[in-house]
Structures are given as C-alpha cells and as structure tokens.
C-alpha cells in the first residue's frame, strides 16, 4: 500500500474554465499508471469551506410549492418539502419536519412558516405535546414555538382546513377534535392564544373577510364566526349540504370572493366569502347529462384548486360510484366559474390524487400522481416535468407558495 501525504494547498480559481466543456474521458487509471489529461498541468481544484449551509429567499418565487408528506409509513415523522416546480435542476429547496398528521400554513407578510404538530416524549408513547412551530422562510430555522394546551389538536389525513390564517395573516385558526370539535384562535403577532370557539357538529375552517371565518356543519349548514378580541359572534345558514346523497367535499378553492366546493356526484357549491358571513350560492353541475351518465365525478384527496382570480380545476374520474370519492382521478377539468362551463381538460399521465395550481401569470398545475410522485403540467395540459418528493414519501397535500 502506498503512502500519501496530505497537501492542503489553496489553489487558484478555475473560473476561466468554460462551463459545459467536458474533459475527454481518458481518466481511467490502472495499476498506478496515470493517463495524461488536458487538465494535467492545471492547478488543483480549489479547496472548499466546511460548514456551509444554504439559505433561501425570504420571499419565495410563485413557482415554489410545499409538498406535505404525511409519511404514511412513519406518520410521526412527516415533513414538508419546498420544491421549485419550474426548475429542471436544483428543484428541491429544503425540508421542515411536520410530525404526526401536522397542519401547515405560510405567512407572506412575516416570511414565516407554521406547522401545528404533535410529539410524544418517547416517540410513540410517553408525554404528549401539541405545538405550533414557527420557521423562518429564508433559513428554515425554528424561530419560536407556541405550546397548544389541552391535547386537543385535531389529527386527520392532512388537509388545508385544519390550519388557516385570517385577518391579513394576523390570526391563525386551529381545528381541535377530542372528539368534541372546536377552533383555537391564535394571535400570530403576539403569539398568544386568543380564544377557543366551540364548534359542535362542525369541522375545519375557511376564511371570510377580516377577522371572520366559516365552518361546515353536520346538519348541512355553514356557520360564520366574527372574532372581536375574545368576543365571538355567530350566524348560521339554512341547511344546503346534502351529506347523505351528494356531500360537499371539505376541500375547496377560492376564486375572487367565492369558495368552491365540489360534491361527490359531480356538482359544485359556491359559497360567497367576500363579507363576514358565508352565503351559500346556487349549486351548478360540473358535468353534462352525458358525462353524468358515465359517472364522471370528482375523486381524490385535494380534488380542487384554482387560480386566485381565474379558473377552477377539479380532479375527475369516470365510472365513479358510492365509495370511489377518494380513488383519484384520471383527468383535471378546467372550469370558467363565471360561465359555469368546462373550458378544458388535462389527461393525467399517472392519475392524480391531489392537485394544486401555482400562483402568478406563469403558473402551472402540480399533481400528486397515484405513484406518489409530482407531475407539473402547463395549464393547457402539457406535461413539463416529473419530480420525486422522496423515495417513500406520501405527499397527499400540496400548497402553492403565496
């Protein structure tokens, strides 16, 4: 065995080298015979610094997406992955942990990420701690955490309605379930819990104007709450959600001042959210009579998304039936919500479980396919790239960067 001497020499920069110009592949060395190469006479590669850690812009580009990996095979070790869906290189930007069916939200005004999650002192057992963890968007370092008392944080397959920001991102709404249902209101500026609102028979939230939110209820109604400090006022609608025979999905997307909820059998229910009170509007059909006969229906997990001031996208399957509403879809249908009309369809390469439209003029549609990879489509249906979140990830939920 030969002996080596360690030479720690700082070499001069090789910036002069032309990018992309590849060396001739004549580097195979055998039995100690060093084959000459065009770089033979050049200075050694520059020595690198140890300890470097990457940072991100604190304001993420609109092509970034948060792929929330529930990590079904190790649920207590879930995570949220930041991915540049427009990049063909360096597409994976970083990861934050998100334990035990966590919920996620982002604040554009404070450049913070929020994860409400649950830990046990011994991983799977021991003392339980519910906590809302606050990350800095540039460093992805933890800035703070807010302890959530009472052990009541609702846990479910990951979804958007379990953590929402309202009132210009000043208040966070956390869904609790014990199985009694309530909403904890947290002031994200002072980082204090403001109040807890009992919501018996209701679940999850979606924002209204100002310090107000709405929640769907088991009697088919929608309840609206206005928060004024610790004071809360409530209004309730008539019953309109036919949960038995044509339930609204509890996944929705907003276009302008309207929140759109697809239903199990292929309709969509708009709810006006432009004021402090949710007002159910008239339902319309996502499908033609012929499509209905073929049982084209929404199906998947996050089955709906939208361009904030544009079109609505719904993940659709045909031959749907009772019990197939989480099967996933084969196409994404695009709707003009003003005309209440389908204006396009994207056939998915590997099916879809969840969909999310990125924001901005150059946006695109991101799909969690049925093999648990991501696929990025242009809005006119061209597959642009495939991105793996990680080898064993189950990224059921996608959040477009604000």
């Amino acid at each position: 065995m030969r002996k080596f001497i360690l030479g720690l020499m700082l070499t001069t920069s090789l910036a002069a080298c032309v990018e992309g110009e590849r060396p001739k592949s004549n580097s195979s060395a055998s039995d100690g015979v060093v084959v000459s190469s065009e770089f033979e006479g050049l200075p050694e590669l520059e020595i690198e610094e140890v300890g470097l850690v990457q940072e991100l812009p604190s304001d993420y580009p609109s092509n970034y997406i948060f792929a929330h990996n529930m990590n079904f095979y190790s649920i207590l070790d879930g995570n949220i992955n930041i991915i540049d869906t427009a990049a063909d290189t360096l597409e994976f930007k970083g990861m934050i942990n998100a334990a035990q069916m966590a919920s996620f939200a982002q604040s554009k005004s404070r450049n913070e990420l929020y994860v409400s999650e649950t830990y046990y002192s011994r991983g799977t057992h021991g003392k339980k701690t519910d906590v809302l963890t606050i990350y800095d968007m540039a460093t992805l370092n933890i800035k703070d955490e807010i302890l959530l008392p009472g052990g009541k944080r609702g846990q479910s397959v990951i979804q958007k309605g379990s953590l929402q920001l309202i009132n210009d991102e000043k208040l966070a709404l956390l869904w609790n379930f014990t199985p009694a249902s309530s909403i904890s209101v947290i002031d994200m500026v002072s980082r204090e819990i403001v109040t807890e609102i009992p919501t018996p028979g209701c679940a999850l939230t979606f924002p209204l104007r100002g310090a107000a939110f709405a929640t769907l209820c088991g009697d088919g109604k929608v309840a609206s709450f206005v928060i004024d400090g610790a004071d809360v006022s409530r209004t309730i609608s008539e019953s309109f959600n036919d949960i038995d025979d044509d339930a609204m999905f509890m996944k929705s997307a907003r276009v302008g001042n309207t929140q759109y909820f697809p239903t199990f059998t292929g309709n969509v229910r708009p709810i006006s959210v432009g004021t402090e009170q949710a007002i159910p509007l008239e339902e319309w059909s996502l499908v033609t009579p012929a499509e209905r006969k073929d049982n084209w229906r929404p199906s998947g997990w996050q089955v709906v998304t939208a361009q904030p001031n544009g079109n609505l996208f719904v993940l659709m399957q045909n031959n749907g039936e009772e019990g197939s509403h989480k099967a996933g879809g084969s196409e994404v249908w695009i709707f003009d919500v003003e005309a209440k009309k389908k204006i396009g369809a994207i056939k998915l390469d590997k099916g879809g479980l969840s969909i999310e439209a990125t924001r901005g003029a150059d946006g695109h549609l991101v799909v969690t396919n049925l093999e648990m990879g991501l696929e990025v489509y242009s809005f006119d249906g061209n597959l642009q790239r495939s991105i793996i979140v990680n080898d064993t990830a189950t990224p059921f939920l996608l959040h477009a960067a604000k």
């Binding site: 649920i75 014990t178 999850l204 099967a327 996933g328």
Partner: protein
C-alpha cells in the same frame, strides 16, 4: 416509489360495487355512539400484487375457518373491509377483530355496513384502530363505502381515531363485527 400500487383500485372498486346498492350507515352511526365511532386514515388505495389483485406479496394468506365468513382477512377485498382505511391488523400480528400485541384498541370508532357475500346479510362493522406503535406498514388498504366528510365524524375514516387511548400513534385497523343491519 412503486410500493403504492394503483392497480388495486380495480379490486377495491369491484368490491365497493358489490354492496354499493345497499344502504349505508348514514342513519345508524349516531345510534351506536356508545361503542361507536372509528378509525383513521386516508386515501383510496391498496397495496396488492399485480399478479393476484387480492394478495399482498410476502404476506401469508389467512382464512377465518368459517365458510359463512368467506375470504382472506389479509386481503383488501375481504368483505368486512368495505370502509376500512389503513394497515390491516390481520397482517400486523392482530386479526380482523383484535389488535397486535403491545398495542391498545381505540374505544372510539367509526362504523361501516358491509354485505357478507355468503349469507347476503348486511353486518355492522366497527373499524377500531390499534394504537401506541407506529405504522405497521403491511397491507395498506383503503375502501370508502359509506364514508362521508368529517362533519359526520362517525362516518369518516380520515380522522385519526386513536382517541381515548394512551397514545394517539396509529398502528393498524381492525374490522370488528358488532351487529346486523336489518333492512326495514
């Protein structure tokens, strides 16, 4: 990445179809609130062998030993699983109606109604979760017949029903036969 197999959609859907014209538990759930209101978990997908859609590779077949309770409890298309969501306890050291050693069965649970193809009766199935150990990881199975959104929690399998247990960590799901649904 191929460990989640979309082929099984077909299996699952076939079964779902079998009883989809039957009634669901929409009215019953609230009646059984004593024992009642069930298990966890997400998305319509089972992990079956493409060659034999009802069989998970590397998992030994089982039988109830009772011809009136037909099928393989390690298969996602076993009749009792019409609304289950998660890892089958039968594959995890438990059985269709019992938890693996070292886990705790959730006392709160969600209810499904499944038709037994042998006697054509509709039985009430309580999908109690087993809790306190992390994901078993075998025989992932999701069927949603009668599943309704979370505002009907007693009919929803997306909620983590490891509630009322010492730990909320989810291990696997059972399908306990707790009654008969009579068509009135």
């Amino acid at each position: 990445m191929k460990f989640l197999d979309k082929l099984t959609e077909k299996t699952t859907r076939k079964i779902a179809h079998k009883s989809s014209r039957r009634g669901f538990l929409t009215k019953i759930g609230t009646v059984v609130v004593g024992t009642a209101v069930v298990p966890l978990l997400p998305v319509y997908r089972a992990h079956a062998n493409p060659a034999s859609a009802s069989k998970y590779p590397g998992v030994g077949a089982q039988s109830t030993g009772n011809p009136q309770d037909p099928g393989d409890p390690t298969s996602c298309d076993y009749w009792r699983y019409c609304a289950i969501d998660g890892f089958l306890c039968s594959c995890c050291g438990g059985s269709a109606s019992s938890c693996p050693p070292g886990t705790e069965m959730s006392p709160i649970t969600w209810i499904g109604t499944c038709q037994n193809p042998a006697d054509n009766r509709n039985y009430i199935i309580s999908y109690n979760d087993c809790c306190g150990r992390s994901s078993c990881g075998r025989c992932l199975c999701n069927r949603n017949e009668g599943d309704r959104p979370m505002i009907r929690p007693q009919l929803n399998n997306d909620i983590n029903w490891c509630l009322g247990t010492e730990s909320q960590i989810y291990n696997c799901s059972t399908a306990v036969l707790i009654g008969v649904a009579l068509d009135g």
